[in-house]
Symmetry: C2
Subunit: 204 residues, 2 copies
């Protein structure tokens, strides 16, 4: 029995610092692929196609929806965000672990399709801290900011569906928490059929 890859789903409200943490994970953990979401929104400063997102047109995105090519997708602020299914399934079948960064609603869908997925919620230490971080972001107009705060509340309210909660108060400490979760999940008994087989089948 070949070891299948582990699917890690990471969510958390805007302002939780998911992007920074995932960037570090990518370079510090072996055999881990960070899935790149597709989106129809415009690239922000410094965002590269294929690295931060697969940027595509609304027509192309809708065509992919029609062809059932997404694990999950949502429409937010009049733009689509989604996880293309094929590359994730291929990596898992090759035994590679994959990280998805998605919204809480998408996470519930992914859990249904992959019951063994590991759901991790990244959050600031308190709601006040979250508001403070959103206030410091100067890039948005007040209406968008209010909407984002409402979404953050909704996301916090659905966090109990997650397996783990990682507080991002200090970035290094949060990355270490995620690395510990990944490392622990890799040593789960149920994920190591080959090792069990090696230890229990013997001639003597």
């Amino acid at each position: 029995m070949k070891r299948l890859g582990i699917l890690f789903v990471i969510s958390g409200p805007s302002g939780a610092g998911k992007g920074t943490v995932l960037g570090k994970l990518r370079s510090e953990v072996e055999n881990l692929s960070i899935s790149v979401s597709a989106t129809t929104r415009n690239p922000r400063n410094g965002e590269a196609n294929g690295v931060h997102y697969l940027f595509c047109s609304k027509d192309k995105f809708k065509e992919m929806i029609d062809n059932n090519e997404f694990l999950e997708y949502i429409n937010k602020f009049d733009n689509y965000y989604g996880t293309p299914k094929a590359p994730v399934e291929q990596l898992l079948n090759e035994g590679k672990d994959v990280v998805l960064e998605i919204e809480t609603m998408g996470a519930a869908n992914v859990r249904q399709m992959f019951p063994n997925a590991v759901l991790i919620f990244i959050t600031p230490k308190s709601f006040d801290e979250l508001k403070r971080r959103l206030d410091k972001r100067g890039s948005e107009n007040p209406k968008d900011r209010a909407a984002r705060l409402e979404i953050a509340k909704t996301e916090l309210d659905s966090m109990t569906q997650y397996d783990y909660i990682a507080v991002n108060n200090d970035v290094r400490s949060c990355i270490n928490t995620l690395k510990a979760i990944i490392s622990a999940e890799r040593t789960k008994m149920a994920r190591n059929p080959e090792l069990i087989n090696t230890l229990t089948s013997r001639d003597n």
Copy 2:
């Protein structure tokens, strides 16, 4: 809702190196108590009462059995080994995490009493490696060695009841695996009711 301590149960065949690994855990992980088992066997060289075991007479041990003072106990090679219940329960209620090192049979009993316990199996990388390690132990007569090998087989055969499997090929790497498991379990959503409460109850 106060956070309860986590009960970690560690088992593995003789020769897996549990003792060395636990000694390191004791000094490297904060807020972790290693439960000390009671036994009626004689101390080996370098073993101190209250540190490696609580050494006691058979009469005293049987009296404790009669008073239902053990979480689990077994009789092995005509000696008793057991985990006194009271200190473990007190530590868990104080929110402290506790490690028990016990046999696989005892682990099943503990799981029944503490369904949220975390069961970790430490093992050499292969059965051949295990036999090699047992052969290198000069302290036992051939009859005891054969009996110990049979017990090791039984223990390996019941390892699938454990949550995690930690291979002890390199001591440092095995300790790091255990530290990752402890760290990950501490961030399990279900173990952090206070944090959930902080993030979801808000006035605004």
